[in-house]
Symmetry: C2
């Protein structure tokens, strides 16, 4: 039995990407954009799309985003070599339970959620004959859904991979090839570390952006012209507040401790700046604001210098 | 005496824009961009640049940004019909004192600072034979200085005008023509109201952005890879933290009360979100985040629909 399972694992992870059937569950921004690249660039043998909405499936087929589609999760994953769960984190956790008995021997199962620890726990419950990887493509935009999908969305993005102890290294190599084929750069990270870091650079900024919109909305009750004055600075600071709420609720609920700690750190600094302002402590204000300015300029220079994808 | 003064005022405000000599004090982002549009579009008779740096003056002349230039404030404004103080708020307040005795009868004197109340007080001390207007072009970017200047910077921006009781309406009309000539839209606002509103949509976001960079920098001490993961969301949320500190210190110091009040409002909301997260109160979190998302989407739709300048 062990031998057969081992052979099955071996067989599947020796597949080349071009031989793979890929099933993408969820045709939102990430799922549909991934399908679009996979089909348009001819990266794999077959691209299947699974969505709750028959209309979305129909659009996917009509627009050539997917080769095949269905609204039925279990039918959709039959025989798939790679299953990508491109649904909000808690939906993906439910789907992991639903698909466990229908997965092909040796199948690679990945999610693309923004938090990793809870998904990793769920993936660890999958049978030994499949290869789970928790993954997170570090890209996106504030609009969501099938209609927001775009070719090249992953170009030059980091794509974090968190393999489980049970995951065959060959499976990681194969999925890394897929990541590279859509122009992204794979980076292996431990789940807890990933969740701490994305809390700081993505989940905290979302809450801050939302709170800022709330504050301006309160000011606007007495002075509605404030909306007319708002320009580029407010536009950039409020962009992520327009992100899909259901996706972010899942993120917040599955990364609460890290986000709470980072909110506390952030609040301490806001309180500190408020105090310096009260005290008219220009010297210290200048020091802190200058240090933050320099930090941002250094980061931005490195960010801009990142290699651009050829896609 | 009153009659002569009245005649002088009359004379100057009957000038057409094409007849005007404009002196711009400070050749940073705003000052140099304004000179560039004025010279390139041939909007007025003469464009003079005044800068502390002889090198900047020389560059301005060499690149055709200004017709004439000097490092001497008082020489620069002699005979100017319109004097634009394009220096940080507190520098402009000092310069108002310095130039008061050298201004031509009927001259229009404007600043372009981001806070209005303190400038307005200073402008009110100018002699009765000149026409002061506190103004604020609602544009900019995070880079500063002469090298950041660009043609068309004011295209489609609001340009707030706060005339003083002593200001002749014809002077406001003339300066509004200049505003329109560089593609911006004049909007008349009371100083106190202006300062409250820009505090909410510009000064608060600056401090929030800076505090966010500070927070990520603290996280990076233990996890330096956080900088590699940071992408579009962090890029947008941190952009204004890279703004020129000396300019913002002047803003913070001349608009302390409003900024303090808005920091308090903002902190209340952050504390509230933190509490909802602690309580796992998804329903209320969803309600607030959805309302903020909708607010931002409504604002952005209106912002994007603003008429585009023909410049």
């Amino acid at each position: 039995m062990n031998e057969i399972s081992s052979m099955a694992r071996q067989a599947s992870s020796d597949l080349s990407l071009a031989d793979c059937r890929v099933a993408v569950v969820g045709l939102g921004l990430i799922g549909a954009s991934l399908c679009l690249d996979l089909t348009q660039l001819g990266i794999c043998r077959e691209v299947r799309g699974i969505s709750r909405s028959a209309q979305t499936v129909a659009m996917g087929i009509r627009n050539g985003v997917i080769h095949q589609g269905t609204t039925r999760l279990l039918s959709g994953i039959v025989g798939a070599d790679i299953v990508v769960l491109a649904t909000p984190v808690r939906a993906a956790i439910r789907q992991i339970r639903q698909i466990r008995d229908g997965l092909k021997d040796g199948a690679i199962v990945v999610d693309v959620g923004s938090t990793s620890s809870m998904i990793t726990e769920a993936l660890a419950t999958l049978p030994a004959h499949v290869h789970p990887i928790s993954t997170h493509p570090m890209t996106g935009k504030e609009t969501s859904g099938f209609d927001s999908a775009e070719a090249g969305l992953f170009a030059n993005a980091l794509w974090v991979l968190t393999p489980l102890p049970q995951t065959c290294p060959k499976a990681v190599v194969l999925f890394s090839q897929l990541v590279g084929a859509v122009g992204a750069h794979p980076l292996t990270l431990e789940a807890a570390k990933h969740d701490r870091m994305v809390s700081a650079i993505s989940h905290l900024p979302f809450l801050v952006s939302s709170a800022l919109v709330h504050t301006v909305a309160q000011v606007s009750k007495r002075e509605p012209e404030v909306w007319e004055l708002a320009a580029g600075g407010f536009r950039d600071m409020s962009r992520v507040a327009a992100s899909e709420v259901s996706m972010f609720l899942d993120i917040l609920m599955t990364n609460r401790r890290n986000i709470g700690q980072h909110l506390d750190l952030f609040m301490q600094e806001i309180v500190h700046l408020r105090q310096l302002l009260d005290e008219v402590n220009e010297e210290e204000l200048k020091k802190r604001l200058t240090a933050n300015r320099q930090t941002r300029m250094n980061w931005y220079a490195a960010y801009e210098a990142r290699p651009r994808s050829s896609l």
